[in-house]
């Protein structure tokens, strides 16, 4: 089992979700996050004072998958999110020790899907 975490552009979220559905990956958790990569954004100015820091809004996806779904998931995210420009985001793949479905108390691979 793996936990896939992806940081993507908010504007690419709809495409990524469509690609994931096509790959039959239906269970995702989404959150809005702020991040700082290599990408330069628009600076903000409030009543003439320039805002420093300039964090950019990103979307963070968390997807727990069984081994046979790892590559399709990665491919789907890339297909949906890639533009070739800086700021497209990153995908992290982590080993997942355990997964428990609360309703049934099932554990492991059956609990993921």
């Amino acid at each position: 089992m793996k936990l896939i975490i992806a940081i993507i552009q908010p504007s690419k979220f709809a495409e990524v979700r469509d690609e994931l559905y096509k790959s039959e990956v239906n269970l995702i958790t989404v959150s809005e996050v702020l991040g700082h990569g290599r990408q330069k954004g628009f600076s903000e100015v409030y009543r003439g004072v320039k805002e420093m820091g300039n964090l950019l809004k990103k979307i963070r996806l968390e997807i727990a998958v069984n081994e046979n779904f790892v590559e399709p998931t990665i491919k789907a995210i890339i297909k949906g999110a890639k533009t070739g420009e800086t700021g497209d985001g990153k995908i992290f793949v982590l080993d997942l020790k355990e997964c428990i479905r609360i309703r049934t108390e099932e554990r492991g691979g059956v609990a993921i899907g």
Partner: protein
């Protein structure tokens, strides 16, 4: 003779109508995505500032100064000669300047209505130039036709109490033309973008309803029975339209929504605008009922089929209900409500319906053609649409270097 009661009423009405532009900003601002809300607020605020100046310099003069049937003149440039004595051709009991500032607020909100059509994708510089030209070349002449001394539609006997043709058809058609010319927003594939703040929509709709009392009953230009009639039918039509939109949703989609009810109320307010000084309460209910039915069909059935992206339904709500109101005035107008008006078809005067149709058609044709030319002109010089990247990031950051909401302090 200046009457203090009338003057106080018209000044307060002008202030009420002024509030409608910021109210519209919240109505529209709530519907767009979070990244574009400041863009909408800024466009509305910019029009409030820009047209206030345009109006005082030459807009009022072009609309209302004595001229020819098509356009006023520059006789009142810089409000020269527009003083504190009444100008009896427009309003005999209030200072001329009170009439001028009341009309200024109409000149401001009309271009602001168009914003809904091209929301989330127009370049700010192009927007400013477009709006200045539109106010001068479209709004001012059409206002003169209908309301100005010697205007050809006024001479023809058209009934447009508070701006069904001048404001709502005019802005609605300009909205349709700009939506077609600027093209669809990127990345939505004809799916609706979920409104980012529906409470803002309701706040805006509530304040618009409130301001509309100034818009319609203030158009009586005196604190009299006619103003009361306009007030009562305005409230009645808005209520009927809000209810009927909710009922339509309940029947067709299973649940009534607050977004729909608020939209319906606005449709009813726009539809009763030309009729407010000429019809009684029962026709107001009918007008409100049909405003929601027509607008619902326009925004929920016709728009998706034709595929144009009138983002916030400026045409679908204001254009459609403005046209409905102008035609309905030709049906339901009655001299028992307003001795200075005319009877409509249902009161034995089919000619009035013909005059109303001429006014609607003339406004549609003129607004469509001149809006098209202005858009093309500005597009060819400074450009009208933001780049794809700017659209993706949103107008707030790309056009104004501001963000509406923080995620971290």
């Amino acid at each position: 003779m200046v009457n203090s009661g009338d003057t106080a009423f018209v000044l307060i009405s002008a202030a009420l109508v002024m509030l409608m532009t910021p109210a519209l900003a919240f109505f529209y601002g709530g519907i767009v995505r979070r990244k574009n809300v400041l863009g909408i607020l800024m466009q509305c605020m910019a029009i409030l500032c820009l047209v206030s100046i345009q109006w005082a310099l030459f807009g009022y003069s072009l609309s209302f100064a004595p001229g020819n049937p098509i356009l006023g003149s520059l006789k009142w440039f810089g409000l020269n000669g527009v003083g504190f004595e009444p100008y009896a051709d427009y309003a005999g009991t209030i200072p001329h300047q009170a009439f001028m500032i009341f009309q200024a607020m109409f000149a401001i909100i009309t271009p602001a209505l168009i914003i809904g059509a091209f929301a989330e994708r127009m370049k700010f510089l192009g927007f400013i130039i477009f709006m200045l030209l539109w106010s001068t070349l479209v709004y001012d002449p059409v206002a003169h036709w209908v309301w100005g001394v010697g205007g050809w539609l006024r001479n023809l006997g058209v009934l447009d109490f508070a701006g069904g043709a001048v404001v709502h058809i005019n802005a609605g058609i300009a909205a349709l033309v700009t939506a077609l010319l600027i093209g669809k927003r990127k990345g939505l594939d004809n799916k609706a973008a979920p409104p980012h703040n529906i409470p803002f929509v309701v706040l805006g709709a509530g304040l618009l309803w409130f301001g509309w009392f100034g818009f319609n009953s203030g158009s009586a230009l005196a604190a009299n029975g006619l103003a009361v009639n306009a007030f009562v039918v305005t409230n009645t039509a808005a209520a009927a339209a809000g209810l009927s939109w909710a009922m339509l949703e309940w029947l067709l989609n299973g649940k009534p929504t607050i977004f729909g009810t608020a939209t319906g109320a606005i449709a009813g307010l726009a539809a009763i605008t030309p009729a407010a000084g000429f019809v009684s309460v029962a026709p107001a209910m009918i007008i409100g009922l049909f405003a929601s039915i027509f607008c619902y069909i326009a925004v929920a059935v016709i728009k998706p089929k034709l595929g144009y992206d009138d983002s916030l339904d400026a045409f679908g709500v204001h254009g459609i209900s403005g046209a409905l109101g102008i035609i309905a005035t030709g049906l339901f107008a009655s001299k028992t409500v307003n001795q200075a008006g005319s009877n409509g078809l249902f009161f034995g005067n089919p000619h009035q319906l013909f005059v109303q149709a001429v006014a609607a058609l003339a406004t549609i044709v003129y607004s469509a053609i001149v809006t098209f030319i202005i858009y093309k002109l500005v597009d060819a010089t400074v450009g009208m649409r933001v780049s794809e990247k700017e659209e993706m990031v949103g107008l707030d950051l790309s056009q104004h270097h501001e963000g509406a909401y923080t995620m971290l302090e």
